[in-house]
């Protein structure tokens, strides 16, 4: 279980994340939504160790994460994808996945059969020997997810995984991520602006605005929350839901 306790991040005079606390147990998919600049990606950067919190603590399965860097947190079981793709473009698709598998093996994990299944599921099976920079944008997004899964993570964080995808691709992605939830059983944190995608996929949702949590609950509770409607969803969406 990933536990965040009173996490804040200050950039000079700007408080990007303010006293955020929540838990993501294994097997749960938690959505993180909010308007642009709400602090969602900053929060993921704090959890993955790319940024250091100004205050607060976080732990993974009781293991305190404070003071550990990005690579060390990955080795403890925190995997992520990026809003702006960070593919190793001069490696092949297979080698991109191997980079993660090397880390997983060094942490004592056997090569998982589930990774082979994930490669199939995310439509990368016939593309393993291709240079990564020859993949389409949608497949690059899929590769980032499979690469993160190859770490054998306890926590998987997906930063706008459906960004740039068309409706059909987004639906396929939602199905594949639903399969990931069952097959891998890791705690998952998802940021996305596609509310249909988030509402379909997530068990619980945390809404951020101006760095602070303004609501937390099931998708149904979130769509009827007046604070969320005012700050992010708007009346139209609320009526549609």
């Amino acid at each position: 279980m990933l536990v965040l306790n009173d996490i804040s991040k200050q950039f000079g005079g700007v408080r990007a994340v303010s006293n955020v606390s929540f838990e993501v147990p294994a097997g749960q998919v938690r959505g993180l939504i909010g308007p642009n600049g709400a602090g969602k990606t900053t929060l993921i950067n704090l959890i993955s160790g790319l940024l250091t919190p100004s205050s607060g603590t976080m732990s993974l399965e009781g293991d305190i994460l404070d003071g550990t860097g990005a690579a060390a947190r990955t080795r403890k079981g925190i995997a992520r994808t990026f809003q702006n793709l960070r593919i190793f473009e001069n490696l092949s698709v297979g080698q991109n996945i191997e980079v993660a598998q090397i880390t997983a093996r060094s942490e004592g994990h056997e090569d998982s059969i589930a990774i082979g299944e994930a490669v199939e599921r995310f439509d990368l099976a016939g593309k393993l020997r291709m240079p990564a920079n020859a993949l389409s944008y949608g497949h690059l997004r899929r590769l980032e997810i499979v690469r993160a899964l190859a770490l054998n993570p306890k926590v998987l964080m997906l930063d706008e995984p459906a960004a740039g995808m068309n409706e059909q691709e987004t639906e396929e992605l939602a199905e594949a991520l639903d399969w990931v939830k069952t097959r891998f059983g890791c705690a998952t944190l998802v940021i996305d602006h596609d509310l249909k995608f988030i509402m379909t996929l997530c068990d619980r949702i945390t809404v951020l605005n101006m760095g602070a949590v303004i609501a937390e609950g099931t998708p149904r509770e979130i769509t009827t929350n007046q604070d969320v409607i005012d700050a992010y969803l708007g009346e139209d969406h609320s009526n549609a839901a």
Binding site: R75, F88, E98, G126, M130
Partner: protein, 343 residues
């Protein structure tokens, strides 16, 4: 039993193909070459080992290193100090401190000590260099080159500066350097395709992305840096053990520039690129040097053009960077040229 990954097995196939080329050139020179040509090819193979040492760090971490000739020099001088007979050192280094003129060791032990000294120095420097940004690291390697050269030049009691350090036993011939170059090719290919090599190349593509994949970037850079320095020391030893005489000048800017041009032309990301670039420039420069002398070609007497080889090297770097920044080979190793497209 060592288990090789699919990438490493493919790397060994590539290394075998390159080895076949190296053996063919070596054997042809040995049997049909003049003394001058044997010397020329020996020099090309020493430069190849240097370029391979450069490729291990620069090609995989993609941080420009300008200190490689200094590490070659450290290897050459350390081996020379150990292996040169006492009676010669007493004449050539009469003021040598710390009893350096009072002993001599066999060539193998001397080479081992030289490699160990170079590796330790590289490790200590590497602890600092691998944490710097790309441009910062490059500037520091340039400073290292200048400092080491200054030490060679001004500690004449140990290194004899620009004077010849003579009397080194000439224990190597062309067959030796061909064998060592092949070994260096195999080591470089295995490293490139190893888990360290793949993760290091990933970090060169995207440092943040690599950290998020659990890659210990500084550790991997340090391993490549030290391995590169060891290969450079071996090149220095090959140089000293063939010529029997060394001085400070060959381990400075001209050599840095020459070997850098070789790696850039062939393509720094691949071992095949290192081999190709070395051969093209080594043998191409011979043609340019011939033109420098003002020969008569097709009845036309060409003017003397001293310095043409320097211009040609500069042009190679400028043109490669302008039109094919990844070099001739780009990301392709030799075995991929023979593989069928499978996608």
């Amino acid at each position: 039993m060592i288990r090789l990954s699919a990438s490493q097995r493919s790397g060994l196939v590539g290394a075998a193909l390159l080895a076949a080329v190296l053996v063919a050139v070596g054997v042809a020179t040995l049997y049909f070459g003049s003394r001058y040509q044997i010397r020329l090819v020996y020099s090309a193979y020493v430069n190849l080992i240097v370029v391979l040492g450069l490729q291990v760090f620069m090609g995989n971490a993609r941080i420009t290193n300008l200190s490689h000739s200094a590490f070659m020099g450290i290897g050459a001088y350390a081996a020379a100090l150990c292996v040169t007979p006492e009676n010669i050192k007493k004449i050539s280094l009469p003021a040598a401190p710390w009893g350096l003129a009072d002993f001599s060791l066999d060539p193998v032990l001397s080479a081992a000590i030289a490699i160990a000294i170079t590796a330790v120095l590289a490790f200590l420097l590497g602890l600092f260099i691998v944490r710097l940004t790309s441009i910062g690291a490059t500037i520091v390697t340039l400073a290292v080159l200048v400092i080491v050269h200054a030490v060679f030049l001004y500690r004449t009691d140990i290194f004899k500066g620009n004077q010849a350090f003579f009397g080194i036993p000439q224990v190597f011939d062309l067959a030796w350097v061909v064998g060592i170059a092949i070994l260096a090719v195999i080591v470089c290919r295995l490293f490139r395709e190893s888990r360290w090599g793949i993760q290091l190349r990933a970090s060169a593509d995207d440092e943040v992305g690599a950290a998020a994949m659990g890659v210990e970037i500084y550790k991997l850079r340090l391993i490549a840096w030290v391995l590169g320095a060891v290969i450079l020391a071996v090149a220095g030893i090959c140089y000293a053990y063939f010529l029997g005489t060394i001085s400070a000048r060959p381990f400075y800017f001209n050599h840095v520039f020459l070997t850098l041009a070789m790696l850039i032309l062939g393509g720094m990301r691949t071992v095949t690129g290192a081999v190709l670039g070395t051969f093209l420039i080594s043998f191409g420069l011979e043609g340019v040097r011939y033109l420098e002398t003002g020969p008569v070609l097709l009845g036309i007497e060409l003017p003397e053009a001293l310095g043409l080889s320097g211009i040609a090297l500069g042009a190679v770097i400028v043109l490669t960077m302008a039109f094919r920044p990844t070099g001739i080979m780009g990301n392709r190793e030799i075995e991929t040229l023979f593989a069928r497209k499978t996608f």
